[in-house]
Amino acid sequence: MNIITIEHIAKIYQVGTEEVQALRDVSLTIDKNEYVAIMGPSGSGKSTLMNILGCLDTPTKGLYTFTGKHVSDMTDNDLASIRNKEIGFVFQTFNLLARSDALHNVELPLIYAGIGKEERRERAREALTKVNLEDRMDHRPNELSGGQRQRVAVARALVTNPSIILADEPTGNLDTKTGEDIMALFETLYEQGNTIILVTHEEYIAEHAKRIIRLRDGLVEKDEIIETRRVAQPRQI
């Protein structure tokens, strides 16, 4: 079943008097429980594509259907609701709330979903346990290592049981070993049936996915299935 269908999507930015075509004409579909990497050099339009896939932005032209709903012509509030319930974001810079502890950071999407305190706490604890941070719940981001922060971010992405997990350079700010840990975490999530979209410019990271979509100059250059993919193993701690 298709979770994501985009047809002839274009995104044009107005920079001063000049028009910049970030995406020219992109069409693709992503199924449930796929593990996709979107690759491309900077300026290829991969960030723009990620923003559109993540419902943070709407395309200038084309049609975007997300779990059967037309996203291209939704209002800001409807988009917010989709982001809240259907999409889990993991960012390169973690993007945690600095003044809140791990538990509250993970709780936040549930707050916006209007879920009561008891259930919220319970689900946030569960998500943090999944990423092996059950003993760090009351730590603030600045009391956590980079890997731990990213795991909090993954827990936050998971907590609403989203249709897709959208990770933008999730290992970009981490050392290789810690990056490997995060990739192992994604591996587990994938095995549990989650749909994962990875945006990266690192070949090594992209090779963890089952399918790589390569962008260049706002167009899909190549869309290939990886036969011998890399499988990250969790470190023995």
Partner: protein, 414 residues
């Protein structure tokens, strides 16, 4: 509704954390509101206090049920030289009026002079000597600490007896026991037969019952005032009830015109004065004070509001990334808006409560100086209402800026 309360609660927690994270800045920002609210509350209670004591003083001196038939008009646009040329109101006018008027519950003559009073080696200058008769007591609500008012016999016989006001009594007889003592009014010896309770009055300075000495009007004519030259009196008329005042006034005009023998086309050559007219004037003046006072204090509040708005804009800018994160994980425009509105309302509410506290303290201090102020429930409501309103209004523009941020740009903001 439930959802709203939920968001409000979350908003409050976020606001509280944000304030705690920027303690100094929050305190400085709040200061404007603290000063604004404190001055608004203090000013409004002071004005209310002034107004109330004006009314009270006016009532205690004149009584709302009294009208005064006088040569002079207290207010109005009749020029003073015309008033001066009017005939004096005489004791005969009083007697005729008393005989002919049917509605009043009491009619008394009244005349005032200022004299120095002496007891032993204590002098009290500028006492108001009121010459009247035994019925005067029915036109006031004077209370007696000791003794009594003079009787009809004493009044008619022009006995040298007097009833003295609380403040004069205090000065002449610091030890008490004033009754039956003999005091000197100018050079005449008068026996004290009654002492009134001290009332205290804010309005009219000395002209209040505390500084008055009542003597029989005939004694007044004998000792201090010529019956012929400058011998005019005024007539105090008491209506049985407040509702009767207009009727009593109507009757008084027609009776007086008859007594004075005025033709239909002649103007009244007397004035009917009443407390209502005085109250009107007081209310007008209090109104002016009120507008000026509230305008100035309102200005302080306005400056405070600008401070809040400014700091909220800074706060929004600073937290652009946080707004981006919140939006990315599903915060709606309304939620972000609510968050910042709650924050500014909360800061202002805190400021308002502190301001209120200062105002209460200030009122307590001012009260020490016999200036009538007390912070009432409505002032508390006013303070909370004003500070919440200021918070919401000054938070509106910054909150809207935050709410309409583009999540992509906000997330990229460094």
């Amino acid at each position: 509704m439930e959802h709203f309360l939920f968001e409000l609660k979350e908003g409050l927690i976020i606001a509280f954390n944000a304030i705690r994270a920027n303690k100094i800045r929050s305190i400085l920002t709040t200061l404007g509101i603290v000063i604004g609210v404190a001055s608004v509350v203090l000013m409004s209670t002071a004005i209310k206090g002034i107004d109330e004591s004006f009314q009270e003083s006016a009532t205690s001196i004149m009584g709302t049920e009294n009208i005064f038939i006088d040569k002079w008009a207290w207010f109005g646009d009749v020029p003073w030289w015309e008033l001066r040329n009017r005939r004096d109101i005489s004791m005969q006018d009083y007697r005729d009026f008393k005989a002919q008027a049917t509605l009043p519950s009491a009619v008394v003559p009244r005349t005032v002079r200022r004299q120095t009073t002496t007891y032993g080696d204590v002098n009290v200058d500028g006492c108001f000597i009121i010459g009247t008769n035994q019925d005067y007591i029915q036109t006031t609500d004077l209370k007696f600490t000791e003794g009594r008012f003079f009787s009809e016999i004493e009044s008619n016989a022009a006995r040298r007896v007097c009833v003295i006001g609380g403040v004069i009594a205090e000065k002449l007889f610091p030890q008490g026991n004033g009754v039956d003592q003999v005091i000197k009014i100018r050079d005449k010896k008068y026996k004290v037969i009654g002492i009134n309770d001290k009332q205290g009055s804010f309005l009219f300075g000395d002209f209040n019952p505390d500084n008055m000495i009542y003597i029989p009007i005939e004694a007044m004519f004998k000792d201090f005032q010529s019956r012929h030259r400058g011998g005019g009196i005024s007539i105090s008329v008491r209506a049985p009830t407040n509702q009767m005042v207009p009727a009593v006034k109507e009757e008084a005009i027609s009776v007086m015109r008859r007594i004075r023998g005025l033709k239909y086309d002649e103007q009244d050559d007397f004035s009917i004065n009443q407390q209502a007219a005085l109250l009107d004037m007081i209310n007008q003046q209090v109104g002016v004070i009120q507008i000026a006072g509230l305008f100035i204090t309102g200005l302080a509040l306005f400056v405070g509001a600008i401070g809040i708005m400014n700091i909220m804009f800074v706060s929004v800018k600073e937290r652009t990334r946080e707004i981006g994160i919140r939006k990315a994980i599903g915060a709606k425009k309304r939620t972000i808006m609510g968050q910042f509105l709650t924050e500014s309302a909360f800061i202002c509410l805190l400021g308002g409560l502190i301001g209120l506290f200062i105002a209460v303290l200030g009122a307590k201090i001012i009260e020490q100086y016999d200036f009538p102020v007390s912070v009432q429930v409505d002032a508390v409501v006013l303070a909370i209402g004003i500070s919440l309103l200021t918070g919401v209004l000054s938070g509106l523009a910054p909150a809207w800026t935050a709410a309409k941020m583009d999540p992509v740009d906000a997330l990229r903001y460094e």
